[in-house]
């Protein structure tokens, strides 16, 4: 039955950095490898902040696997790294370059469309030599099973494919990981949501006082996001800026905040006026769901012939000022390939998953994704009582004096810069909002500039995106349209807003037999496929078919 389907030794689903690394390494081992990518081009579905790191301690880096990556696919090396603590218009800057450089061989700003499509060309070249290759516009929609065993993948556009190894590198909303029952979309506190504006800026060097081979990263924390836990970022690209913010999804839901408005709060903060000036040209608005690896990174990310890499396995380390995802995806992809190559040599291809799991552990990757230190501190640090007590203490005269005293000996900056500390930062209000705000109030100075920019409205942002709408074939269905079950999506969805009729999710009043009822309605046309609503609302969520849906040009 399934025997007549095409067979490849390995099939890789998703051509992001994790899939690309896996495919390159597989091809290098002479393994016949097919890569399928649902975007019209690799990178067309992918969004990141985006800094990519090459860690000194990592067994693989992207330029090991893809020589020339930095020169041809990346934007700028990030050579300066700051955190801006903000309270109103008071700002206190700390230089975190040493934290940024800890265990870092290099770190570059990237735009994913350019980066991933470059990678895909290399991947196609090397996998084609093995008898496989890379195809875009193909959506793998699930796992092919035979007698309950996973034996391949099924696709929308082509017949099922059998394979001895299936690498699910299909991103944060991995349909394969869910089909296998390895990941779910249940708890908002396990996720972040990132929103980003890519801003055109032909004279980055002048505005930031840097050379062409230099780049700057700024992080923003404090009270500029209306109490939502999260932080902002600004990275310099070659001739644009990536400005965005990453929020704890549970906090976003709790505050019923509108992500695009929080992004605007950052964009229009007077601190940014010095870089943005008066001409503001936003070339793309984008959003992404981000797994919180310390809570969801799967410690055993495999099932039969299936292995999960990158976001699909929750391998996104986002903690305090450290945000690392792509590098771990690269490592995981290459390790999975390595594991399969060894397993195949030992005539036991079925052992690839176990070997991959062991490699994640032995390479130290898993302990970066799920730091022990955080797990130990979490029960104390995230207890409501503790948070309140710490917040009250910090805000009290005693706490404030303490912060001042610590700063005079440079302790605050040193603490911020401690990789040790950042690994154990609790996910509470304290490090994201309270502490930075108090630092800014006590130690900061007021910003003198005024922001004159006017970011585009949500409607304009949606209008500027490119979509190939799959008319009559919506990829998301509301299972429960009650406000209780799905109302959170109206504000949390980055392309919806309360009172805005042009987004995905809307609240509607329905009148039947004299009674009125509030319900949630859905139109997937402006969907950016972030997956937020799959977590916060009661939906049946799938990716659109290959080539369909949103197409990011920057990413």
């Amino acid at each position: 039955m399934t025997d007549e389907y095409e067979h490849y030794e390995a099939v890789v689903v998703g051509a992001g950095p994790g899939g690309a690394a896996a495919a390159a390494k597989l091809a290098d081992e002479g393994i016949e490898t097919l890569v399928v990518e649902r975007g019209v081009d690799a990178g067309a579905k992918n969004v990141s902040g985006g800094l990519i790191y090459a860690e000194e301690s990592a067994p693989y880096t992207i330029d090991d696997l893809f020589p020339g990556f930095r020169e041809e696919a990346a934007e700028r090396p990030i050579t300066e790294y700051y955190i801006q603590n903000i309270a109103g218009e008071m700002v206190k800057e700390y230089d975190l370059t040493s934290l940024h450089e800890h265990d870092t061989e290099w770190s570059d700003a990237v735009l994913r469309r350019r980066m991933d499509s470059w990678l895909a060309d290399r991947v196609h070249e090397c996998t084609r030599e093995t008898g496989g290759g890379l195809l875009t516009g193909i959506r793998a929609n699930g796992l092919l099973r035979e007698d309950g065993e996973i034996v391949g993948v099924t696709c929308d556009e082509i017949d099922p494919i059998r394979a001895d190894l299936i690498v699910a590198a299909d991103g944060v909303n991995s349909e394969l990981a869910r089909d296998a029952g390895l990941m779910d979309w249940e708890e908002p506190e396990e996720w972040f949501q990132g929103v980003k504006a890519t801003v055109d800026m032909p004279d980055v060097d002048d505005r930031f006082g840097i050379g062409p081979e230099e780049g700057v990263a700024h992080l923003f924390s404090g009270d500029l996001f209306e109490g939502v836990r999260g932080g902002g970022f600004l990275y310099t690209n070659t001739d644009s800026l990536s400005i965005g913010a990453v929020f704890h999804l549970d906090s976003l839901v709790e505050e019923q905040a509108e992500p695009h408005e929080l992004l605007d709060a950052l964009l229009t903060h007077p601190l940014l006026a010095q870089w943005l000036g008066e001409e503001y040209n936003e070339v793309e608005y984008s959003a992404k769901l981000v797994p919180d690896s310390k809570k969801v990174a799967h410690t055993s990310p495999h099932e039969g012939r299936l292995v999960l890499v990158g976001d699909a396995a929750g391998q996104m380390q986002a903690q305090g000022p450290i945000i690392k995802g792509m590098n771990h995806a690269v490592t995981a992809g290459a390790l999975a390939a390595e594991a399969f190559a060894t397993a195949k040599r030992r005539d036991n291809p079925g052992s690839a998953g176990e070997r991959y799991e062991r490699k994640l552990k032995e390479s130290g990757t898993m302990s970066k994704l799920r730091p022990k230190r955080y797990e130990r501190m979490r029960p104390v640090g995230e207890r409501e009582g503790t948070t309140d007590a710490v917040d009250r203490l910090l805000a009290s005269p005693v706490g404030r004096i303490g912060i001042k005293a610590m700063d005079t000996v440079g302790l605050v900056e040193r603490l911020y810069s401690s990789p040790f500390m950042s690994m154990s930062i609790p996910d509470t209000q304290t490090p994201y909002v309270t502490l930075p705000a108090i630092i800014a109030e006590e130690l900061g100075s007021p910003v003198r500039d005024r922001s004159t920019i006017d970011p585009p409205s949500l409607e304009e942002r949606i209008g500027d995106l490119t979509y190939d709408t799959d008319v009559g074939n919506p990829h998301i269905r509301l299972r429960d349209d009650s406000v209780e079950a799905s109302g959170a999506a109206v504000s949390a969805c980055p392309v919806s807003a309360t009172g805005f009729g042009g987004g995905c999710y809307r609240e509607e009043t329905i009148q039947t037999n004299g009674t009125t009822k509030q319900v949630v309605s859905l139109d997937t046309q402006p969907c950016v496929e972030c997956g937020t609503c799959a977590v916060v609302a009661d939906t049946e969520w799938e990716h659109p078919r290959g080539d369909k849906g949103v197409e990011f040009k920057q990413g």
Binding site: E6, G132, L135, D159, I161
Partner: protein, 286 residues
């Protein structure tokens, strides 16, 4: 084994709005209207491409027309990743009707060596006769399948099996089979299908190989005149065309039958009259 296919194509005036130009009497102004590949031929090209992707081999494209048709052939090369192009071009061929054209094309095909499959599109956008393909087929004495919507070639058995619309009706489909070489007329409903990764990868390879080739299409273009084809001028061109077009009558535009009444949406009374007018229509159901 591999399959050699030839696609017959024609350059036609670009009838799309904004491109086409008519004079005061409603006659087409050829000089002002760009020439493009006959839109229906695209389906024939896709049928040939699908054959090449699945079975390997070669796709050639042939056309009869003035030297300017080189660009049309270049377009064809781009869309079908054709290997070589043939243009039958000669003053003596001017004003050929479908009969004379068919004789010329058939002679060109014979000179080239009759391929495994000859593909033609379903009628041209200018003549609209739909004769040239079948007449060419008749001249070559090949089995013919028209209105083809999907197609499978069996290399071993040297047969082609096709699904075709019966009487051009999408509701009625029959499956027929014949031996190669054969003549296939692709229906506008034809859809190429690449259901395996292997086929999709082969398609991608072809695309990569031909981007360069289309740029230098003239190096792959062979032009034959009537002498090359050894055709007697009495049997081709105007002299060889039995069809006589006695006159061309412009079709007058039908006069508008209904009158429109403009209603200001802020005019309450006007709008309620509109709703009253619409009431009986709404009651109808569908």
């Amino acid at each position: 084994m591999s399959i050699h296919s030839i696609v017959l194509t024609k350059g036609v005036p670009d009838f799309r709005e904004g491109q086409v130009s008519f004079d005061e009497d409603g006659h087409l102004e050829r000089g002002k209207t760009p020439t493009v590949m006959n839109p229906n031929d695209e389906h024939a090209l896709h049928a040939a491409l699908q054959t090449k992707v699945r079975h390997g081999g070669r796709v050639s494209v042939m056309s009869m027309g003035p030297p300017g048709y080189g660009d049309v052939l270049k377009e064809a090369m781009k869309s079908v990743y054709a290997d070589d192009l043939y243009l039958l071009s000669d003053r003596e061929l001017a004003a050929s009707d479908t009969w004379a054209t068919a004789i010329t094309l058939a002679t060109g095909l014979e000179k080239l060596g009759v391929p495994d499959l000859v593909f033609a599109g379903f009628k041209t956008a200018d003549g609209e006769t739909g004769h040239t393909g079948p007449q060419t087929c008749w001249a070559l004495d090949l089995p013919m399948i028209t209105h083809v919507i999907s197609l499978d070639v069996d290399e071993e058995e040297r047969t082609v099996r096709a699904q075709r619309l019966v009487e051009g009706d999408v509701e009625e489909v029959e499956t027929v089979e014949t031996e190669l070489p054969a003549f296939v007329v692709a229906d506008p409903e034809f859809e190429a299908s690449y259901r395996t990764a292997g086929e999709q990868l082969a398609l991608k390879d072809l695309h990569e190989q031909t981007t360069e080739r289309a740029r230098e299409h003239e190096q792959h273009l062979t032009t034959w005149d009537h002498a090359d084809l050894n055709l007697d001028p009495d049997y081709i061109g105007l002299d060889g065309s039995p069809t006589i077009v006695s006159s061309v009558d412009p079709i007058p535009k039908p006069p508008a039958e209904r009158e429109a009444t403009m209603v200001d949406p802020t005019d309450e009374r006007g709008m309620s009259e509109v709703f009253e007018e619409m009431q009986p229509l709404a009651a109808g159901g569908d």
